[in-house]
Every structure is written in C-alpha cells, then in structure tokens.
Amino acid sequence: MLCLLRLNLTDFRNYRALTWRPESRVAVITGPNGSGKTNLLEAVSLLAPGRGLRGARIAEFARHGGGGRWAVAARLRQGEAPPFDLGTGTAGDGPADRRLFRLDGAEPRTQADIAARFAVVWLTPQMDTLFQESASGRRRFLDRLVWALEPGHARESAAHDTAVASRNRLLATRPNDASWLAGLEESIARHAVALAAGRLGFVAHLNAAPLPPSAFPRAHLALIDPIAERLATQPALAVEVWLRDALAQTRATDAATGATSLGAHRADLAISDAATGLSASQASTGQQKALLLGIILAHAALIAEARATAPMLLLDEPAVHLDAPRREALFSALAALPGPALLTGTDAEVFAPLAHDASFWQVRDGDLVKAG
C-alpha cells in the first residue's frame, strides 16, 4: 500500500515553506475559502507528470514575492519497501518556465520511471459541470483517464491535434495541394484510429472493472464516435483507409467551414447510471456528482490493478452536492481503498464519519495545523 509520509512545499502558491506529515492514509483538510486547500492538492498532483489538477502553466505556481522558484517534494513508501523521495519544481539556476523531476535525488531517465512509482487521480468542483459543457470537456476528461493508464495516448493525441491544425491551415492557404493534404490526412487517420482504439479499450475496461459492492452508483460509459463504431466491426487498417478517403472527400466543405469535420476530436462521451440507465445529463446535481465519484473510484481501482500500486486520490470538496447516504457510501469506499487520499472541505463536521480512518487538518496562514 502506498503511503505519503511527508510533503514539503517551498514558495508554492500561498505556501512559503511547509513541512507536513499526514500521519494517516486518509487526510481531511479544512479551511475557509481561499486558504490554500486546493493549492495543496495541486502540489501533490504535480508530483506525477502532467500539468496538475488546475492545468496551470509552470510560471503560475511560484509564490508571489518568492523570487519565481518553487519546489514540491514528497517522501512516500510502498508497502514494506524502504521510503522513496519524489520531487518537482524549477531548478535553482535554470529557466523558471521549466520544471524538473527528482526521484531519490537523481533526475529520472524518463517520466515513465515516475509513472511506475506514483500516480494520482483527482476530482475537483470544476468537473461538476462536465455533463453540461461541450463535448470537448468530456473528451479531455476521458483522455486524461486513458493517459493515466496508457502514457502513449498523450503522444497520439498531440500528433493528431497537430495534423488536424496543419490540415486546417493548409485548406485555408493552399487548398489545391493534394499531395500535402493527403500526407496530413494519412497522419490524422492513423492517430485518430489509435486514439479511438485506446478510448474504446479503456471504456470497456472501466465498464467491466470489478468493484467492491457499495451503495455508490456505478457509472456506464459509452463512446459516441463514428470511428469507434467502425472499429467494433472492422480491422483498424480498414478504418484508417475509410477515414483517409472520407477526409479527402470533405476537403471542399472543410475548407469552407475552416474546420476538419472528421477525426478523434469529434468524439463525445455518454455517461449513465449502470443500474438505472439514467443519463447523466438528465440526472440531478447530486446524482451527477455521485456518478463522477463512481468513475474516479473505478479508475483508481483500474490503476491499482494495472500498476500493482494504488494511485493517490485527491478529492477537492467531494462532499458538496452529496446527500447523507451518498456521503456515507463515499466514506466507506475511501476506508476500503488500498491507496492514500487527501480530501478537502470548508466544514470538518461533514467528514465526522471518517473520524476513525482519517486525520484532520486545518489550513492556517500557509501552514497545516492538526485539528481535534
């Protein structure tokens, strides 16, 4: 079981110098709005490769008046093995817009070295709007879930988006350059099929994930995507050929609209309650939050299964919108989890049922003080 032994923040957001030892697997952090609860979760999220739970730029992490450099360091332990140190931040004398990683004091060879030791899964209040916003938000959400399990997915996604942007630009500037367009369409087709296959595999995996029985609703995911539909019945190469030809056919209309009408960037994700079939977009705010938590918990279980190490759960304001029975269900699910979890809230009372399983902390002036 993974365990967070110590966390150090230096000039990160509102923390000047923090040393914190959570003392228990589950930690509840409370404090008024703007006190820095989410900043703390963000710091932990940055210990894994990626842009963290706010998707912020590196320059935004440095504390105001702190000289522009920042660091996050953690000591973790996996089961009975000796503890290991994981850190990230800007180098003391390097550029302030580049962040480095340290694994046991040395620069890791690849980011995969870190991913093999440490993973995070998070839920933030911003994700509450997932079911109301556009398909792109749901697609990003799905892709992030896939990335956590398949690091190669990020590269496919970046290459696909570059190819689509290049084709859009070319259609605007040299719409008759058929050889060049065909080259880009071949790339779009290859990467789009790889992305669709990755998403499809993940959705099937998540839907079938063995979860401990819980009062928590189980979510059912479905990909709405013509590429994925074809992949279900045809070989990948045949789908690539179909997509490449279809893109060649849509050049004139795509040039008129200024956008590529086919590709992995057109997919959407449908989420429903697996037991009742109720679509998430029709559900109440509380039911939506419960479904989202269901996905996050199932995702954490998948990562634990794939990596043999449970990810760290970062739940920012998880109790908001949940009724008492659902809160109970969440807390019992957390108590049964194999990995560490950090929870935030404005009111410690709400988390009272966790009293036996969690330690309670208050954020006060850039420091964490043990509560109760």
């Binding site: 690091p151 190669g152 190819a163 942007a165 290049s166 084709r167 060049w180 065909a182 080259g183 880009l184």
Partner: protein, 195 residues
C-alpha cells in the same frame, strides 16, 4: 568588465548554439589565457571556413568543394539517394557508414503551421536529379513527426511519375533497447514493419 573587445566576444559566443552567457564567458576566458596557441588558430580557422565552405549545388551538403566530396566520389553508388532534413542528419548517417549512395538535403520539412511550403525546401532540385534516369532508389530518412510524415508522403507522390523506387527508413526497436520501455506507437510500428 574587461574592455569592449571582450564584451563583444562574449556576446558573439553566447549566440553559438549550445552556449549561453555563462558558458560564453567561460569559453572566452579560457581562450584569452592562450591567445597564440588557441585563439588565433581558432580565428583563422573560422575565417577560412567562412570563405571556403559553401552548399553543394547538387545535394545541399556543406563542403569547401563544389560539388561536394560525396557527390564527386566515383566509388559511391550514384543510383541511390538518401533524402535528409538537415546537414546534421547527413553527418549522422555518414558517421554510421552504412549508406553507400548519395544524399539530398531538403533544408527542413513541409510545415503548414510554420509556413514552410514545397518552394521553401530543396525539392525541385531533387525532382531534377532523378529525371535523367540514373537514380534507381530514393530513401526518405525524415523525422517521425506529423510534418516529417506529410513530407515523405508529398515526396513519394511527386516522385511516383519518375518511376524511381521510393523507400522510407524503418521505425522501431532501438538497438540495446528493452521492449517493455518502448511507447505503444513505436512498438506497433516496429511490429508492422517486421521481417
């Protein structure tokens, strides 16, 4: 600090790729300690190279003779041309010593987002080189990026009419590399290109 000559030298050194202001100061200081043994020979070598080295009119390589030594070498296989993006790629292939033929330096890849079109690259001379019918194979050794792949596709298309055999370098498992650390894309490409 030490007069305008030194400042100017540091500024110029700091523009050399791989150097920054700090390493430029270090390099200049070191050179100034041995002006006769290191600095003047360097200055003379730079002046000589700047005057003598030109792009080869045939392949785009850098050399002090034109056509370059590779293009002029009768022992090389003139039926085979390897297309690369930069002179650095040409040097890398030459170091490996595996390509017996000639080269063609494109000067980059097509880039719709970067505004590099076919006319900005050394493409027309390449098409002219295969016209007489002596060339039998064109090997495309371009980056495995979206732009590199689009450029390879573009060139394959343009070369189709000439009847020349167009091949691409393989992508896959690096020598000494373990399979389980490869990303999925490379592994899939390697498996597809098995033989």
């Amino acid at each position: 600090m030490g007069g305008p000559e030194i400042e100017r030298l540091i500024q110029l050194f700091a523009k050399v790729p791989g150097l920054g202001p700090r390493s430029a100061r270090r390099a200049v200081l070191k050179l100034l300690q041995y002006p006769e043994a290191r600095m003047l020979p360097l200055a003379q070598a730079m002046a000589a190279a700047a005057r003598a080295v030109k792009h080869c009119a045939l392949c785009g390589n850098l050399d002090s003779v034109n056509p370059c030594a590779i293009c002029a070498d009768p022992k090389r296989d003139h039926t085979m041309i390897c297309v690369v993006e930069t002179v650095a790629d040409l040097w890398a292939l030459e170091r490996s010593g595996v390509h017996p033929g000639l080269y063609h330096v494109l000067g980059g890849t097509l880039s719709a987002l970067g505004g590099t079109g076919p006319d900005d690259l050394n493409i027309r001379p390449l098409l002219a080189r295969v016209q007489p019918g002596d060339v039998q194979e064109i090997i495309l050794a371009l980056s495995a990026t979206v732009d590199g792949a689009a450029t390879s596709h573009f060139l394959t298309d343009r070369l189709a009419a000439s009847g020349v055999h167009v091949t691409r370098v393989a992508q896959g498992v690096p020598i000494g590399g373990a399979l389980d650390v490869l990303d999925d894309g490379t592994l899939a490409t390697a498996l597809r290109a098995r033989r």
